[in-house]
Symmetry: C2
Subunit: 150 residues, 2 copies
């Protein structure tokens, strides 16, 4: 955890982005590091946890990170929480809380609240356009003999 | 929307990953394309919406995609929903629903349910390690004179 916090501070000072660092570790060994790079790389998805997960998957050569643990300097936002589930990490440790983050201007609580709402009540409008081609593409996946499941 | 669905089918057939495609558009013009690349790029975050958002941000040279609309062949998962909020997209249109996705083996409903749970009840254990260095890093951000907000 101290390595994740150190990253959060050093990379922020170096101008990469907000004060967030993350480490993916396996049995006490660091597999990959990540830090916030939203503003420096013009990538709204480049949160510390996302960059650490992507780096770990690249290092290990697989998209399934089961057996690994994430240490992050702050409680993950909803996007990163989703990525943590998809990556199938074993456990997550965090230091600062989402309230601490809100206090310095990173308010993801409205996003957390958005998840609890029915689609029609979301801040960003979501509209379904039901097209037969879309259903056909799903059927094609179901019938694909050589698919790699994930 | 038809372009997003076409991508979902073509890129799946080409072996990139699952049957998911997405387009970021502005005033009827396509800004960027994305498609699922989880298994081909060993990146658990490489969903169609994520790759489209990252490509659009790169093309436009900014992390804030306000003024743009996302067309995605399937209702976004929680990770992508979080990314949509962070990218500040104006609106989202989707074709297949999360139920359609679950029917062909992509069940993100357990992730949606995970968001509604208190931290202690989540499938993946989340543990807070409150360290003074973490709070100090946040204070350093609050006091940073040249920070770029996002």
């Amino acid at each position: 955890m101290r390595a994740a916090i150190r990253l959060s501070r050093e990379k922020m000072a170096a101008g990469f982005g907000g004060p967030f660092g993350a480490i993916v570790a396996r049995g006490g060994t660091i597999v990959a590091e990540g830090w916030n790079q939203v503003t420096s790389s013009n990538d709204p998805t480049a949160h510390a946890e996302m960059t650490a997960i992507r780096a770990a998957a690249k290092t290990l050569g697989r998209f399934d990170l089961a057996g690994n643990t994430l240490y992050t300097s702050c409680e993950p936002c909803p996007m990163c929480l989703g990525a943590i589930y998809w990556a199938r990490l074993d456990a997550v440790y965090y230091a600062n809380s989402r309230d601490d983050a809100a206090a310095i201007g990173f308010d993801d609580d409205h996003i957390y609240r958005g998840f609890a709402k029915p689609i029609a009540a979301r801040m960003i409008p979501f509209t379904r356009l039901e097209l037969p081609e879309a259903a056909a593409a799903f059927r094609a996946w179901a019938e694909k003999p050589d698919k790699v499941r994930y």
